[in-house]
Symmetry: C2
Subunit: 333 residues, 2 copies
């Protein structure tokens, strides 16, 4: 099945069908619907369609992230922009606000060929990846970074979340912690589960208890998360160490400790995945696992541009892992 | 002069000229150059050209900012995105890295009709606004926000930098400071000069000395800025209060104080324009003038969309000022 045959089936010109599939403004929406319905019906192959898309390069790539006001995604955007500027690409930015429906809506907008490729960090709520599959089938290159899923065969860029989780937990153990709690952001988000896996492995390796109630899932708003942390820190057997999967949960922990008059690091040691340049100036300064956010952005954009320009196979299915770094500060002294 | 006459002059079809002016891929670059040269030569009028651009709406707006990893531009992006999502617009993001040449290059890329409108916060180095004038003459709506220039007649969105500067300086005076220094980021950047104006007005109002060497222009890199602050704080008549025009300069001041074993707020009180949610957790917590960053982003995008959709006159030339807020914390205790 090629574009020519599809046009014959539809009794339309080659050019009309091609334009309809590119969502051209010259074609009426009723014609577009007809063309797309027929293309689906005839299981019109990915490659020819993709190639028809690719003929008209937009030199634009899309970045879809859960949030932007964040110690991590800021430097990621810088990394992406550095490649875009080098290679002459434009960057569209979208936010899902952790909402799967918004993620799906954004993908619908991008299916019609507005961009040459997409970089995505999954929303917290995303449990179904049909919209990613559909985009892939249309031949539009897609890269997952940071928050990924192994269910989709595309190139992925992450940091070593599990190793970072082991490093963080072992650091707390070395500093004498006996009851270490883990603050997760969600059971669905890969970065959180990866870090939790590392936490559990480290506890096991050091033959330490792993009570289930030492893992607190903080997937609510700020106020709700603080209540959960407060509950944890007012328990009789309260933890003497906290490993926060993301920086905001460490900040909430600091705030709760102030309220409860708990001293960090004397009463509680705290470590978190954090990239903020302010972590060193907090009271006390925050021991952190620092992710290579800028490098992850650069790598994601570089791989995507190569896929778009067909310098690499678009069926690439691998994981690029960039190492995080432990930075010891006063919160675990 | 209209498009038809321009086409006649060039001996080209109406459609070719129109497409060339829209930078269509169907037209060769040599033809495009010829068309643009002739259009300039004949002083081809703004409105018809603008309307030819406007016929084909891209539903895309561009955001051009100096940096993204920043307490201010993060929430600005969120504000812009909230309007874009409401109104069905796409947002392209560009960074100038404080470089006028990059700003000009980005404007060149956007002249050909890739976007319906542009929001710009000027780079530190921008001293010539010819590229802004040119864009405006092409009829593409432009909004300036945060870092603006009064030389260009377009809609502008800022916070009340001068009033904020007065508030910050008077707060230091109330807290007993006798020698107050001001850390500027550049003599060219409107937000910095506006805040400085407020600083000078407050000193005058309270009949305080205004020695020139109490204004330090920190327009270098981090290391260089810290040296300047160190020099200021090791002087015999060192200041007992510092008003930092932006958050990063407050952070540098904290770092220098640690090095010099100066205690904040005992030896030196510090206030800054700052939007970071971490300011409250710094050691000591930072007294701040908090800008309405999210609201400024929303307002900029809302006005731009109205201009694009011709709900407002595109010759709008006014300033929307959104108030900042003083948040007293321990650094001025």
């Amino acid at each position: 099945m090629n574009l020519k045959k599809l046009a014959q089936e539809l009794n339309l010109s080659f050019s009309t069908v091609s334009k309809a599939l590119r969502d051209s403004h010259e074609i009426s929406s009723s014609t577009k619907s007809r063309v797309i319905a027929k293309a689906n019906e005839l299981n019109y192959q990915v490659n020819p369609l993709a190639s028809s898309f690719r003929k008209q390069k937009t030199k634009t790539i899309a970045l879809i992230i859960p949030e932007v006001v964040n110690d991590f995604f800021g430097p990621v955007i810088n990394g992406i922009e550095s490649i875009a500027q080098e290679k002459g690409y434009h960057v569209l930015i979208y936010m899902t606000h952790e909402d799967m429906e918004k993620e799906i809506a954004i993908f619908k907008l991008l299916q019609s060929g507005r961009v040459d490729g997409i970089m995505l960090s999954l929303s917290e709520q995303t449990c179904d990846i049909k919209h990613l599959q559909e985009l892939k089938e249309r031949g539009i290159p897609l890269i997952l970074f940071d928050r990924i899923t192994d269910q989709l065969e595309v190139a992925k860029i992450t940091t070593d979340n599990c190793d970072g989780g082991i490093k963080a937990t072992e650091h707390l153990i070395e500093r004498g912690c006996k009851r270490i709690a883990f603050l997760a952001i969600s059971k669905r988000v890969s970065v959180s589960t990866g870090r939790m896996k590392g936490y559990l492995e480290a506890l096991k390796k050091h033959s330490m208890n792993q009570p289930d109630d030492m893992i607190v899932c903080c997937d609510g708003d700020d106020r709700k998360n603080k209540e959960l942390i407060k509950k944890l820190l007012t328990r009789k057997d309260r933890p003497d160490g906290i490993f926060a999967s993301v920086e905001t949960l460490a900040i909430s922990t600091y705030e709760v400790c102030e309220e409860l008059k708990l001293n960090i690091p004397r009463d509680l040691k705290v470590i978190a995945f954090s990239n903020s340049y302010l972590a060193a100036l907090l009271n006390p300064s925050l021991t952190a696992i620092r992710q290579p956010a800028f490098e992850m952005g650069r790598e994601a954009a570089a791989i995507l541009v190569n896929l778009v320009e067909k310098k690499e196979s678009r069926f690439r299915n691998d994981k690029t892992v960039i190492k995080s770094q432990l930075i010891v500060r006063n919160s675990t002294r």
